[in-house]
């Protein structure tokens, strides 16, 4: 499970090139969808900068626009006004260097490709990488996510957790600078979730990438991120922007008893519960 943390990624150097500049930035972004009798504004003049190497988590009530935000950052959906910039360039279509991991992992994996062929999918576009090199990179990624024994299996033969590992490996095989993840673990059981959280943190640290993560789980957000942003609802704007500066690795048991952790948790929960129309005590079971 433990990955070498000493691997100094070749991508780490790029951070210096643009020191101080955000790797990904949303500036004055408005997003609206056509609705009955006009437009429905989902994101209203949102600004958000992601520094290189950040692990930024977006939380917020259901339907507040987290997925929408992530899709704008990925270039999967066009902004209504404002701009998303990746390393300074305006994003108009999915830029190479930004990859996306979907919540519905089962639907994001090519069921007709073997595990290895799924991983190298993003590399096949690149004429500069021959078959051997592709396989090499693919295998390397499979080792990193612990699926090296399954390279010839088909996705249907994998458990949910393994499928999501595969999706992550596929995304990372293209050496991206930014990894966007939309509730990647919310469809997994507790134990599998814990294992994958650890995996993503290991990868983030060893590869030096920037991660933008969406979750409903406040504990998960605080356990993983260097920064947590809470959105408010309709239309979405940034409600809370927290630096989470606990050192990694973080032990969930001891951290769970840290008063600063508990304070942050309460602040975030408050924001969400308020917007869901619940009082904090409604959480009692």
């Amino acid at each position: 499970m433990t990955l070498p943390e000493t691997v100094a990624s070749d991508r780490a150097t790029r951070a210096d090139e643009q020191a101080g500049h955000p790797v990904l930035a949303a500036r004055d972004v408005v997003k609206s969808y056509p609705a009955r009798g006009g437009e429905s504004v989902v994101l209203d003049h949102v600004d958000l900068d992601m520094a290189d190497g950040d692990f930024l988590t977006i939380v917020g009530p259901s339907g507040c626009g987290k997925t929408t935000m992530l899709q704008l950052l990925a270039g999967l959906s066009p902004v209504t006004s404002g701009a998303v910039r990746f390393t300074g360039t305006v994003v108009e279509s999915p830029p190479p260097g930004v990859v996306y991991v979907f919540q519905q992992f089962a639907k994001s994996i090519f069921p007709w490709r073997t595990v290895l062929d799924n991983v190298v999918f993003g590399l096949e576009r690149d004429r500069g990488i021959d078959r051997r090199r592709r396989t090499e990179i693919g295998r390397e990624m499979l080792v990193r996510v612990g699926l090296e024994a399954y390279e010839r299996h088909y996705p249907s033969q994998l458990s949910g957790g393994m499928q999501q590992r595969l999706a992550i490996a596929r995304a990372l095989a293209t050496s991206p600078r930014v990894l966007l993840m939309d509730e990647p673990f919310s469809a997994l059981d507790a134990l599998t979730r814990a294992k994958l959280q650890k995996l993503v943190l290991d990868l983030w640290r060893s590869l030096g990438i920037t991660v933008v993560f969406v979750t409903h789980d406040i504990e998960e957000a605080l356990l993983l991120s260097t920064r947590v942003v809470a959105l408010r609802k309709s239309p979405a704007t940034v409600d809370i922007d927290l630096r989470v500066d606990f050192a990694h690795p973080r032990n969930p048991v001891t951290l769970g008893e840290d008063p600063r952790f508990l304070a942050m948790r309460r602040q975030l929960l408050d924001s969400i519960y308020r917007q869901e129309g619940l009082s904090y005590e409604d959480g009692a079971r």
């Binding site: 270039g75 999915p94 996306y100 979907f102 994001s108 090519f110 007709w112 088909y154 995304a171």
Partner: protein, 252 residues
Amino acid sequence: MIRQLSLRATGIGLIVLLVVAWELAVRLQLVDSPSIPSFSASVAALVGGITDGTLPVAMGETLSRVLVGYAVAVVAAVVVGALMGTSRFVYYLLEPVTELLRPIPSAAYIPVAILLLGVGSEMKIAVIALTSFFPVVLSTCGGVRSVDPILVDTGRTLGYGPLGRLRRIVLPSALPETLTGMRVALGIALIVGIVSEMLAGDTGIGYLILESQRIFQVPLMFAGIITLALVGYLLNLAFGRVESHLLRWRTA
């Protein structure tokens, strides 16, 4: 394993039973007509027809036309089906014509086809291609339309353009449905191939069946039908093999 085999044997058993019933019905003159030979006479004719090459040659002629027409149809139908599935314009453009032409039996347009293409193999291949086109086009279109958008978005974030996505995501994803249409079309292609031979020309198993009927050689006629059934069965089996190979990821 053995249980599996003996289970499979029941099917063969039923066929044997039916064949025995056929033989007895004719022998005991329960069915007594010059139109129905005994099974043994049909098998004798089958063996004779195979030995003297008549049946293999006729079947070969039919099959070669059927397979060419079918191949043409599949290629064209996958292209058109993909277009219909991805573009609403093309869909609404072609859907009504397709649906209008589909119910016309081939026997009705073969004379028109002869007029345009003559009585040779081209006409037969064209008719085979035309009739087997429809199932594939409709199933491919359906398959393409139901591709999961998440799969397509995955392709986008990994840098593929529309053509790359079509080739590497949309068509493979629609493959199971395309194959369903292709299986239906294969059966149709064979039948239309036979029918076209029954109207014009002097080659192929369809002609052989009709010809032996005309000259009261009903055992040979039945030998032709048996050949056709077996070849159809084997074609379908082969198709099934290819299909399960292509879709091995499903059962894996």
